[in-house]
């Protein structure tokens, strides 16, 4: 398979997704709905919503996809995904604890950016714990890291359920809504700028680390012998993946499958070398998240717009199974 010939395909798909995000009509609910799908430049009243949600989609897709590439290389495991480090469950716990404290104290905090701050704090806290416990002889160890990540995720999941158990049904619904993921159309520009900036930095650092990640696919002894300083490299990959994931989850909730499927799709199209893979996965992530956000806008099963996290899981799950069964998603 000629990867050079296929690489424009991803770019074109990404452009198509971006165009659809801006131009595809969304009049499917409400009195103005006429059932037709239109394609036109948005009226000024709606333009900012579409640009904002598109940019959030681009940011989240890029961040999660690059994070997936980094973690699959770090953990030497093609099944690794950004949520394996416990970031999403930590973020969920942050949101749930905030709800619980509000419930107990009777206070309501209209925090700027909604659940973003508690999610960020929770995600970062989980990341720090996983880092502290995932080391051997002072440096991160892939196997220990996976085990610690899974266990921290499970503990955070249990704590989420514990706090859910303590609050009435209405509040339980709040967290379930958050877990479904949400590409906001009204994200404050400053928040978008910080997250977008992080995604760009992630892309740049991902490209810089590309060759080292290639070399790190060798066994540890051999990787060191070709000149890779594995300890600092693994720390950099972990920190970058963790920060990108935490920022994406804080911005849009835990949107599943992006970080798992995007690197595999890119690998299928562009081959396993990490420098092109980082760019390809970022583009696949953009196609996946922005495409899913456009797709979900066209779906209403009686409860309004379908949450984006459900859509990505429903599309990403079968897509991943196809990759797995066709044996083409190998690392």
């Amino acid at each position: 398979m000629s990867t050079g010939r296929l690489s424009p395909t991803v770019g074109l798909l990404a452009l198509a997704a971006l165009a659809a995000a801006i131009c595809l009509g969304r009049v499917l609910i409400g009195p103005a709905a006429d059932g037709t799908i239109s394609l036109a430049w948005p009226e000024p009243a709606y333009a900012s919503f579409r640009w904002t949600s598109m940019l959030v989609g681009v940011t989240v897709g890029t961040s999660l996809a690059i994070s997936g590439v980094l973690l699959q290389a770090l953990l030497r495991n093609p099944l690794a995904s950004p949520f394996i480090l416990g970031v999403s469950s930590g973020a969920g716990l942050g949101v749930m604890v905030t709800r619980y404290v509000e419930h107990v104290t009777g206070a309501t905090w209209p925090l700027p950016g909604g659940d973003m701050l508690p999610a960020l704090v929770g995600g970062a806290a989980a990341l720090i714990v996983v880092y502290l416990l995932g080391r051997r002889r002072g440096w991160l160890d892939p196997v220990t890291l996976v085990l610690v990540g899974v266990i921290i995720s499970t503990i955070c999941g249990a704590l989420i359920m514990f706090f859910q158990h303590l609050v009435p049904m209405g509040l339980r619904g709040d967290l379930i809504t958050w877990m479904m993921g949400h590409i906001s159309e009204v994200t404050p520009p400053a928040v978008l700028a910080v997250n977008g900036g992080l995604a760009v930095v992630g892309l740049g650092l991902g490209l810089l680390l590309g060759r080292a990640m290639d070399a790190a696919t060798l066994a540890d002894d051999e990787a060191r012998s070709v000149g890779v300083n594995l300890g600092p490299l693994r720390l950099a990959m972990f920190a970058l993946a963790g920060v990108l994931t935490a920022a994406a989850v804080a911005l849009a909730g835990p949107i599943g499958f992006v970080g798992l499927v995007a690197p595999h799709a890119a690998r299928l199209l562009l081959g396993p070398q990490h420098t092109p893979l980082v760019v390809g996965a970022a583009l696949c992530g953009v196609v996946f998240v922005v495409g899913a956000d456009v797709g979900r806008q066209a779906m209403d099963f009686g409860a309004g717009r379908m949450p984006v996290g459900i859509f990505t899981a429903l599309v990403g799950g079968p897509a991943f199974l196809w990759l797995l069964c066709s044996g083409r998603g190998q690392a």
Binding site: A212, A215, T217, A219, D221, S225, V226, G227, L230, Q330
Partner: protein, 249 residues
Amino acid sequence: MSVVIDDLHFAYETDPVLNGIATTARPGRIVALIGPNASGKSTLLRCIIGQLTPARGSVLLDGRATHRTPPHRLARRMAYVTQRSTVAASFTVRQVVEIGRFALPNRPDRVDDAIERLDLAEVADRPYPALSVGQQQRVMLARAVAQLGHDGVLVLDEPTSAMDLAHVRMTASLLRELASNGATIIWAVHDVSLAARVASDAWLLADGRLVDDGSICDVMNAEQLSRVFAVGFEWMNRPDGSAVLIADA
């Protein structure tokens, strides 16, 4: 470039593995590292490449301890191939060989040359995981050859264990050629007869101690080998006048 091993001690936790190893590998020489299972051969190699930190003593390259040398600097002067290499990605053969140039300037001619010398041109674009173990061993040797300068140190841990005889012979002549160009080669090998044919020097290891080191003729005397390996050895003369070492196994 000489590798000087200076009173090297190493222990996993409290379990001593290497005890006071002291010897030198010199440029232009192929050193066969021989010894029974669990005698400490692989551990010694991992100390040489700086992966393990000695409990006492050190391995010096250019007067600097290898375990204290930053990997990217060490990689310019020392390459390492293990017995069974894994690559956690579906790289092609060429891409794996290119990894050898990670810490060095990109030299496609060196990569092509290494592929050619290890007889890999036909499989250069095939995925590494799809190859046989013997072919994978040649790919890793090519990677090391692409990395190594003419005066570098090549550290090999059983790199021919799964190769067919023709490729073992090809590898042997490649090692001789590299040595004649000034490389220092340290080669852990189980096949003592092969070592006797190819190497110029030998280090004989038993229970973490250096039993003997020196030229191949001195170290590989049948009596000493029989004592260390608990198997009979015999030198036999061939009609062409050369001698081969035969194990009584």
